[in-house]
């Protein structure tokens, strides 16, 4: 069957090409049809290697299908479809074409069977997605986009070097389990880690996602980090280091999220927090843990997308996104409010919502494998995510103090996209078996036993109680217009300042040394000429002329003397 040989990224690239040359409704239809047709095609594809050829002596496999890649393939199609519907009102060729290419690059990366193909799509992800940031067309977005691009391309560069080392160590470029052995293993790990927003390398995400366009962020939140999660799950399952990295990712962003004012940046922090759960699952590496990580990635794409869409709707309608300027929007945006609460319940892992059925797998796996402290920290992170994403987002946008802003619900296409996502969140939460049947391993896991449900509900209710109590006591930090320093301060402020100071110092020192030297030279020359003055003041003020005249006189005199004597 020739259809088999068409890798899933191809329809998206063709769709992007057609979208570039069409306008208006036709373009919208093409952009919606692309993920639908692509998904139907993917649904029929059996597992296996469908495209393979030799290149410079290496076997390349640009199209390899197995259960792990299929999960991500499906969810990228769903996410692309939802995001396309959400952005149907947009009339911006750059953004629309970039979005299609970006989704296609994500698909190319998850179906790449070798490191070289992976590298190509890894870089394409960076170059296509940056236009979703630049499409905001502000100076600020331009600078953010540049920072984003530099970091993403750096990640790709490290991946390429790692892949070359890998090829020389193993004689093959196959993208399978790599592990932290040798320099190749570490380089590729770092490359994946940057894209996965590991702590310290995470600032590109919190810097860039809130600055992208309303619709662009929805695409961005779905793909880049999930490609990295996929890559880690493929290459580093059971790597213990990932457990500790993951738990750090799950815990530290919630502190920033509590004090952050820009609500889309709050979501960006909570994105890192959710990816942390996945990374822990990959690090544990048992069948249950990997299943948990993968299904959580699947669910996260949808509920995080939903939350970004609701906040995008708020930004689109009000032109504002800071918690300090919003509030009371439920009055005129009731549908958006309800949809946002569904997203909030899903990310908080309320029973009957999608987050619950996947996050609990990672938690159970942590306990089963004896990571008690990790489990405790994850439990804290679960309470924390409810606190900032589950309560803070809906509360400060739609309730809290009345900002006096009265805007209607967003356009129908936006509402439709959010409703599809919300429907999926609830459907997966109620009937997780459908999701579980797609997972790489069969573990017979059931999230809905009394123990789990009760424990999670208790945890969430009493976290909410803490919010209520802190608010009543006036201890809850108010939303303030502010910038909170994060690690990006080092490269946005500290290093530029230090370099500035350093160079200023070097230039000053250089000038001082030159000046001192010039003064010495001056003095020395002055001294010499003074000496000369005294030596040859008789005939001429200048030494060379004076001595020359003297010697000419001497020669003439001796010549005269000699001619007399002869």
């Amino acid at each position: 069957m020739w259809m088999l040989e068409i890798p899933p990224f191809v329809p998206f690239f063709i769709g992007a090409l057609i979208a570039a040359f069409t306008r208006g409704k036709l373009r919208g239809v093409i952009m919606m049809l692309t993920p639908i047709l692509g998904a139907l095609h993917l649904w029929m594809v059996p597992e296996g290697i469908h495209l393979q050829f030799a290149f410079l002596g290496y076997e390349l496999m640009p199209y390899r299908v197995d259960k792990l890649s299929l999960m991500f393939g499906y969810v990228f199609h769903i996410a692309a479809f939802i995001a396309v519907v959400y952005s149907l009102h947009v009339r911006d060729t750059v953004q629309q074409v970039a979005a299609m290419l970006y989704a296609g690059s994500g698909l190319g990366a998850v179906f790449a069977g070798d490191l070289l193909t992976l590298f190509v799509f890894w870089e394409l992800l960076a170059f296509t997605s940056v236009f979703l940031i630049w499409a905001r067309r502000t100076q600020r977005a331009y600078l953010v986009g540049m920072r984003y691009l530099i970091i993403q391309v750096l990640s790709g560069g490290i991946l390429l070097v790692g892949a070359l080392f890998y090829a020389s160590e193993n004689g093959s470029l196959e993208f399978g389990k790599i592990g932290l052995e040798g320099i190749a293993g570490w380089l590729i790990f770092i490359a994946f880690g940057i894209k996965c927003a590991f702590p310290i390398a995470h600032t590109w995400l919190t810097d860039a996602y809130p600055e992208a366009t309303v619709t662009g962020t929805v695409f961005l939140s779905a793909i880049t980090t999930k490609v990295a999660v996929y890559a880690l799950a493929r290459a580093y399952p059971g790597t213990e280091l990932l457990v500790y990295i993951g738990v750090a990712m799950a815990c530290f962003p919630i502190f920033f999220a509590v004090i952050e004012n820009d609500l889309r940046r709050v979501l960006a922090y909570s994105l890192i927090n959710q990816v942390g759960f996945m990374v822990v699952g990959i690090g544990i590496g048992t069948a249950l843990a990997i299943n948990g990580a993968v299904s959580h990635a699947f669910n996260d794409v949808i509920f995080k997308g939903l939350l970004f869409m609701t906040m995008g709707a708020v930004l689109h309608m009000t032109g504002r996104i800071n918690g300090s300027e919003l509030g009371g929007l439920y009055k005129t945006m009731p549908k958006t409010t309800v949809l946002c609460i569904v997203g909030a319940a899903s990310i908080s892992a309320f029973p009957l919502f999608s987050g619950f059925v996947s996050k609990s797998m990672v938690m159970s796996a942590a306990l089963e494998t004896g990571y008690d402290w990790i489990w405790l920290a994850l439990l804290f992170a679960s309470a924390g995510v409810f606190h900032h994403a589950g309560i803070k987002i809906p509360y400060f946008a739609f309730f809290a103090h009345d900002s006096g802003i009265r805007v209607s619900d967003p356009p129908t296409n936006m509402l439709l996209a959010m409703s599809i996502a919300a429907g999926l969140c609830i459907a997966i939460g109620i009937y997780p078996a459908a999701l579980y049947s797609l997972l790489p391993y069969d573990t017979g896991y059931n999230p809905y036993d009394a123990t789990h449900v009760l424990a999670q509900t208790q945890l969430l209710f009493f976290s909410a109680l803490a919010f209520v109590w802190l608010n009543l006591r006036g201890l809850y930090p108010p939303e303030l217009p502010s910038t909170n320093l994060d690690f990006d301060w080092f490269y946005r402020r500290f290093f530029p300042r230090v370099l500035q100071k350093l160079f200023a110092f070097i230039w000053n020192a250089d000038r001082a040394v030159r000046q001192a030297f010039m003064v010495r030279l001056d003095l020395f020359l002055g001294y010499l000429s003074w000496k000369n003055d005294r030596l040859s003041g008789l005939l001429s003020r200048n030494h060379p002329a004076g001595s020359m005249v003297m010697w000419v006189a001497v020669i003439l005199a001796s010549y005269l003397l000699l001619s007399f004597m002869a």
Binding site: F255, M317, L379, G384, F462, L480, S482
Partner: protein
Amino acid sequence: MQTDQHPKGDEQHYWLDDPKNVQRIMYFFYAGCVILLALDLVIHRHVLHSWENLLGFYPLYGFVGCVVLVLVATWMRTFLMRPENYYDDSGEAEKDV
């Protein structure tokens, strides 16, 4: 993007505007908390960790965890918070002009 800013007062009255209704919701919420705590005594758990056996472990952990989270985050503001345009008026903006 229409942002009609009505002066307060001359507009529709919403259900949540009434403090009584808010109070009612809060009572339901408190009742829910109490019931969940009571369920601890009734439901037999299949626990993997000994701490889970403690009465009210999850409620306590959730509550204390969140209070600590918020207090620490508030304290972090003392050294992390800067004006909104902090980065704008640094070197970055100077480069643009």
